[in-house]
Amino acid sequence: MNNAAYFPGCSLKAEAGDYERSAAAVMEVLGQPLEELERWTCCGTVYSLTDDDLMHQLASVRNLIRAQECGADEIVTLCSMCFNTLKRSKVFIEQDSARLETVNAFMDEEQDYEGGVEVFHLLEILRDQVGFESIEGKVTRPLSGLRVAPYYGCTLLRPREIGIDEPDTPTILQDFIRALWATPVEFAFQAECCGTYQIVDSPEMVLEKSHRILNSAMRAGADVLVTSCPLCMHNLRLCYEELRSSLPEKRELSIIYLTQLAAIAFEVETGELPTSMAKLVEGLPTSMELVP
């Protein structure tokens, strides 16, 4: 990794400790440990679509300044939503010098943001800087036979200008899954929105959307679904709990973070897995059986 600062975001600290722990362990194995950005603040959560609403860009720009202060030239996020907000904000503010000037003048207690701090999602780092071949090289317990659905959601891919892959035909997660020797299971709703923060006001709508995603993944034959977003995780797990009672016995879907999947393949302990996932791991060949 170049000189990168890791931006956790609030959800990672409050609700998705398993995501952070597994990502930290995996990056350690890959020889590029995550270094947390100092004094980071909330990313801003929802990117403001109003053209002249500079106030709602402050949170993101302040984080870019924090990166600049510590000499980092990139910010790496795990949460897809933080990635989306930070990157869109960066593009928006760097597009127009008048915007940047106003924001810098307002934040007169900070050094000026000079532009140029890059924002990446961890998956991009894995693909472009670590390389999927290197990841494959670190696998000690191949996930052979494990059928994994790549769930992108929307914030990793859209809008196109900031997306980490083709919005309609993404392959990055499938490639990642293959690098761990698992089988990617493509499904129709892999880049559909889970309903996001509408869970607060319209839980029924969110459950309906999430239901469609889970059904689609299960019909395609997935045992596991991986995500990169704590909010998707929240909605999908909530929906899965509702769905579970109507599933035939032994038909389960484990919903985990993509870095938990890698941690299993690297055989690093990162804390508890969902019961169904732990069962699947037991059924995997052990590292000893790998030796030719």
Binding site: G9, C10, K13, A14, E15, R39, W40, T41, C42, G44, M55, H56, L58, A59, R62, F106, M107, E109
Partner: protein, 227 residues
């Protein structure tokens, strides 16, 4: 315009000009000018947070925020006092709280409105990183919220300035209380001392002190062992 002489400065209180001696605190300068504080003055030592003051320096566009009892009056200050902050405070029973990472957000949901503008920090006369502790609260870090807000004197200036209407200081007080009740380490010697007090070990000594005359008390005070 330089209005000062060798020994006096000119300050403006509620728009009226007053010549006052140089070297006084804002509070003393105002009293010298004939103002009497019926609200907005308390300990006069920088601890109670009652004397929140907003001022602007002649020729500057910025508003500045200080405590009247702790800040020297300067020539060309336009002053206004803010003796009360009408901020709502949530009621809760500390012993019945579930001190998880969402407890602050549940009681003070408006902290989620923070856009990181940092106006609160600029308004703090105690130089506390106010926005940073709001951000810590948002991600459920109670210990960090308590630690960063430790020097807060509850003056309320942060909340009066916040464009998101956050009630920083009440939320932070809640964080410190939760930290004290659920998270700070228990000290063994304190537990032992409480047990001794409950057993009545010190009652005789206290009774003897109560019966002493002032001069006897002064004598033993002067002779006390200072660690």
């Amino acid at each position: 315009m330089n209005t000062s002489s060798e020994n006096t400065i000119r300050i403006y209180v509620m728009g009226s000009a007053y010549e006052v001696p140089r070297g006084l605190t804002i509070m003393s300068a105002m009293e010298h000018a004939g103002w009497r504080f019926t609200r907005g003055a308390g300990c006069r030592s920088g601890f109670c947070g009652a004397c929140s003051t907003v001022y602007r320096q002649e020729g500057d566009y910025r508003l500045r925020f200080v405590l009247a009892c702790q800040t020297e009056a300067e020539d060309g200050m336009y002053l206004v006092q803010l003796p009360f902050t009408p901020a709502p405070r949530v009621s809760y029973t500390l012993a019945e709280l579930n001190p998880d990472e969402n407890v602050l957000l549940q009681h003070y949901p408006e902290i989620a409105r923070c856009v990181s503008c940092n106006t609160c920090t600029k308004a703090c006369p105690q130089d506390i990183e106010v926005m940073d502790y709001i951000q810590a609260a948002l991600r459920g870090d109670i210990a960090q919220t308590a630690s960063l807000s430790f020097d807060c004197i509850q003056c309320g200036l942060c909340s009066m300035r916040c464009p998101a209407d956050i009630k920083h200081y009440h939320m932070a007080q809640m964080a410190r209380r939760i930290y004290g009740r659920y998270m700070s380490p228990v000290t063994a010697h304190l537990e032992e001392r409480i047990a001794e007090i409950e057993k009545g070990v010190y009652e005789e000594e206290v009774e003897a002190l109560v019966k002493m005359t002032r001069s006897e008390l002064e004598e033993i005070y002067a002779a006390r062992v200072v660690e």
